[in-house]
Amino acid sequence: MYPAKFDYLVPESLDEALSTLSERGDEVKILAGGQSLIPMMKLRFAAPETLMDINRIPDLGWISHNRGSDEAHIGPAEHHWPSSNGSGKPTLRIGALARHNDVVRSEAAKANHTVSSAAPWIADPIVRNLGTMVGSLAHHDPEGDWASVMLACGATVALASTAGTRTVDIDDFLVDMFATSCQPNEMVIAVEVKAHSDRGGGNYQKLERKVGDYATVGVATCLELGDDGNIAAAGLALTSVYAHNLKVPDAEAVLVGQAPSDELFAEAGRIAAAACDPASDSRGSADYKRHVVSVFTERGLAESLKIAQGGQT
């Protein structure tokens, strides 16, 4: 299988890449890990006139745990992040060329338990050596795992152009399948999620027929407990059981303000199962998948709670 012909550009700096995008972004597709894009080009679902390989741009593969405004040095290449975004809250930031396996191995990435729990479940070990988290989000396969993690955790995406860098909430970034709000003159250079506090936890549950397959069902969860031990914040999003990654605000709302319990988590699971709309296919019937959503929601929340209560790191 061979892709259609394309021009190949290989910029050696971010400025050079952004200049190219500002001049001819309409015809350019960005190549990062290529583990989704190249298969699509081989099937000719994608046929970009120009492929811009960003892999030679230095300093884009960073993963940093920004512990807050009291810390002056918060990781390499932090200048890529817009300075106006200083909320002072601890966050995890992941640069455009951080590979999935970089996230698996990263100490910094453990700052967000949903992220660190999902990373080993992305694709397969060989694909994880090249594929990138930011590339997955920018590609926006509607059955991708990372988008659910980001929706559950309330991520922010940084988009760079020659005009500067802007940030977009993940809900606004993910427009439709294979479509995002990244403009032709822009490049996604990083994504940011909240770091969990020592009273927070998160988890990703994934059922797959075989390693490297799409999720049959995926469930991303995260929790923060308040000083009273009640749930202060909750995130829940589902993979492969709707036309796109599905955030479930009703289930999140039922959790917030409550004391954590098995009954409460079961209720969230029922709401999630009712909110999704899975297709019956070779991976399972709709009823089966809906059942797995409720079970995984309970399990994921229980796992998140265990971490939040200090039972596990």
């Binding site: 012909k5 583990q35 070990p125 694909v127 050596n129």
Partner: protein, 158 residues
């Protein structure tokens, strides 16, 4: 576009189209056929090579992306004309039947035991989970990688 690579220690260069896949550059341009093509869809892993020491699927990478980088294929595993510890272990423990997935399995195994010199069987199975074998049931592949890890540990401690 000109591509220069160091493959198994030898420098090679060729003028290629940007859309030439790395696996075809290795097999057709450089005439080294130890690297196989299976599914051609990033699933089976038989085209795995080491790029600067890291396993990647060469059907899902363009040759131009490897410009200036170092490639190891199965032809580069032998050392001083002798089988490497991994190759020897696959031979002794019958870590193959038809042999089609074997070059990739040995390369993945070689990179894996460098990172994890004393793995559990589960670690090994996880490491090779991006590589399909349709003959062996994986039992002897796991055994072979474990044996190579043991040999390498003994070599390091002696």
């Amino acid at each position: 576009m000109n591509v220069n690579v160091t493959i198994n220690g030898a420098e090679k260069s060729a003028d290629v189209e940007p859309r030439l896949l790395l696996v075809d550059f290795i097999r057709s341009t450089l005439k080294m056929t130890g690297t196989h093509i299976g599914c051609d869809t990033t699933s089976c892993g038989v085209c795995t090579i080491l790029l600067d020491g890291t396993p990647v699927k060469s059907c899902t990478l363009f040759a131009v992306q490897a410009n200036g980088r170092s490639i190891t294929t199965v032809e580069g595993l032998k050392q001083n004309g002798e089988l490497s510890a991994m190759q020897q272990a696959f031979k002794e423990h019958h870590g193959l039947q038809c042999g089609f997935c074997t070059p990739a399995m040995m390369l993945v195994g070689t990179a894996f035991i460098e990172d994890n010199p004393d793995p559990t069987d589960d670690d090994v199975r996880w490491a090779i989970s991006g590589n399909l074998c349709r003959c062996t049931g994986y039992m002897n592949i796991v055994k072979s990688i474990q044996a190579a890890a043991a040999t390498t540990r003994e070599g390091a401690s002696s």
